[in-house]
Amino acid sequence: MAQDTTVPKLNFEYWLDKAVEWGQATTLESQKDVCLHLPQLQEFLHQLYETLKDVQGSVAAIQQFPLIGQLLGRLCWNPFVIGYDESQKALMWCLCCLYSSEPQNPVEVKANSWICSLLCHLLSSSEWESNEAETNLFISTLGYTSADYYGHLVKNMIFSLVAELRENPFNGLNIQRSVSASRVNAVSICCVPLITLPDLTPLLETLLLYHGGSPKEILCPEFLEAVNEAFLKKKISLPDSAVCSLWLRHSPSLEKATLHLLDQLVSIQLNSLEEVACVIKDSLLPQAASHPAIFRVVNEIFKNALLETDGASEVMTIIQVFTQLFLEARQNQNEQHKFPLKAYFPCHHQPLVRALLRRPSELPTTSWSQHLKNISDMLKALVEDTNVSSLTDLFETWYLVTCFGEWLDIAAEQLLKATVQPDALLWLLAFYYCPQNENQQRTQAMVEVQAVYNHLMMLFSCTDLSLRDLEAAVHRIMGTEQCWNQHLMTDLLTNFLLFSSGGHLVAQECIYHITETTDTSKEVYSLLLRTAYRFKHHGEGNQRTVKLLNELLQKFTLKV
């Protein structure tokens, strides 16, 4: 009977004290306490089983763990423990291990008998209910087992609870008829261990959508948290409306869900934005964000994430994709249910918001540059109005624009392809990469990018491009000290390589050269991903450009 010395010491005293304290979990405090400890208890039971696996018979086990009988016995009478996830399995496994196939003394015989009665209690007849014996006889005469009976029973109970909750919408005049808040609260806490039981889904849905008359939340927070956990781990699936309701009622759950999404996205290797969009859509957050309250919370969390990562391009991309999906979801909403834009962006200049929210697909391509010019003019007016702009306001405005990065990418493209006055669009891009101007950083950036732009425009229609032709631009990029200037000019250059007549000839070399010598590979990669996604989404892009994009992306994924 080898004992692994690295197995952590099992804390029997702690759990036995807990089990005694809980009893059969009939009071609200004991119920809440059990719910709090269920995951650790399950872990403990699994560890206990691993330890007991090699033990033969109850006497040996009792020598090792004197309190084991008391503990297992008590836990078997706690329906919260039995009902939870896999705890009942672990308990039964432990009991099986304790059974002696050749009892040597009366103690073992007694222990065997005790084990069998506990298992019968768990699986067939028990004294939990007073008239179970009669029921058992009835169903076994019919040829069924307790498995069939309890299958039906649980479904019936759920059915009747759901009916009770649904037929009593709060009727202000008829208080006696409506279900009492304490009853709903009691139901919700009793559901906590059972959340992953498939039978329960209708009840979960009904509880989440239930609105009593009280302004306070009547569902207990343990329940809401547990449902959220199970949903995030994909152990249960709920309809969108129920999840929305959950998040509206319990903001910690919403925050957890948003952070969980960010974790998921940041940890997967981003190979295409389709994957990102898929993960975001599955999280149901864009759809839920149609509620302004949810949108604002999610927005804040994203903003913080951006600040904490110093504006990392992956986070920016995630925010931009999220915003696009949010707009799509909002578009699909029924007109009557739509909230006004001011509800989502209360502190911003509304005409700017409206302009940014127009999706490129809603406008003909020929009017894109004009639209962008409008945005740029509005923005300029806002930002350069020294009476209004504080640093915080500036950041908020910049963040707003960043969320709608799609337009900014289009701006860069339009700069090169469309025959328009470039100033407004250049200003827009400059603002995006360098919002601040106390020390004339942006003005300086404008000057630099203007020079690069002029140089590139001269080469735009040149079909026979070589790396030497671009040398001047490349030198500028490598020579700048400020990283925002670098990013701005690299952005322009990358767009040039994608869309100019001769760019494809030198694209790979050029990008390789730049990313090797500067710290811009992540930004370039994000830009390429976004452009590929945009093309797929809008069905844009000629074949050559698409081909080039894919080649470049492939090269990148091998490197990054």
Binding site: P79, F80, I82, G83, Q88, M92, W93, L95, C96, Y99, S100, S101, P103, N112, S113, I115, C116, L119, C120, L122, L123, S124, S126, W128, E129, E134, T135, L137, F138, I139, T141, L142, G143, Y144, T145, S146, A147, D148, Y149, Y150, G151, H152, L153, V154, N156, M157, I158, F159, S160, L161, A163, E164, A186, V187, C190, C191, P193, L194, L197, D199
Partner: protein
Amino acid sequence: MAAVLGRVAELPALLALSRSALVRHWDAPALDRALEWARYFQHVHDRFRARPQLREALGRRLRRAQPCSPPLGFSALGRCPELLGLALLENRALPPAACRRLLRRLLLPPPPGAGAGPEPRGLALLARRKAAARLLALPRRPGGTEPRVRAEAQLLLGRLREEEAQEGAGAAGRPRWLCGVLERLPPPRAFAVVAAALALLGQGSGAEGAGDGDRDGSGQDGNRASAAGDGCIAGLLLSWLLGNRERFSAFCLCLPGSLLASLAGHYSQLSRSYLDLLTGWGSHLHYDPLQGRWVKSCLEKAELSWEELRERFSCLCQGSALLREQTQAALKLLKTRDGDFKVRGLSVWTDLLMEVEE
């Protein structure tokens, strides 16, 4: 096939054995064999469930092998591992070595690569559901069928439907086992179960099988057959109820007026007998001028008081239009026969009619 039939006929004996004290001679290998048999029966069930003729043949063979009530049906083959496993678990005569083997095979996860016995997963689900039933058993509001009673009714219906599908109408043995089964429950419970079963049939709950989804009747035929079959089953339950006066009287006494009214709305034989019964009870009331109300003539008899009677009649009048007309017509007739009085205190029927028409 003959071999299969022969083996299937062993099932009742095996189950009976597993519940008896004879298992004390079993050792671990014997237990293994028993569980293997159970798996074999389940396998037979799964193979033949989609083939009606073979299914019926197996069902008939099973019935022949059991002299007493109620015979196990084809679906019991599918439940065999659980039936046997749980029966053995409850049997205290099983010796330790065999018991240990049983526990390991029933409950522990199988070692990778070995063919398993009954899925341990199924029993874990059972334990979980049992706990769920305890957790969700919050005190309910009155009205509506209690979930436990409803579950028992669903199982009863499942069994009856299975018999119906197999044997068709007119199998002589059925009423006998039904009585025996219902007598296993104490009367108030039995009545509640039968009432729930009738209510379920009345609502046309054709989709509710008995847990294992054995209702694989083929498409339209299945539906038509099951509607007709349900009618037969209802008839069976009603004849059990109505066949015995005392039983029916006790039934009507112990169930609430609203439930009886809704059943009466669905089943015309029931409404007739119920009205007759109420008439009988009503005629035993006499008016006490000192107290100013109707009282029972003999306090000990199991009958309804005036208030209860009034409640019953009003429930009936809140039912379907047909039922309401029937009830009012009956009361009017009784009132007329009694002398057609218009004043209270002279005829119980006058008074009832007045209460009910308010």
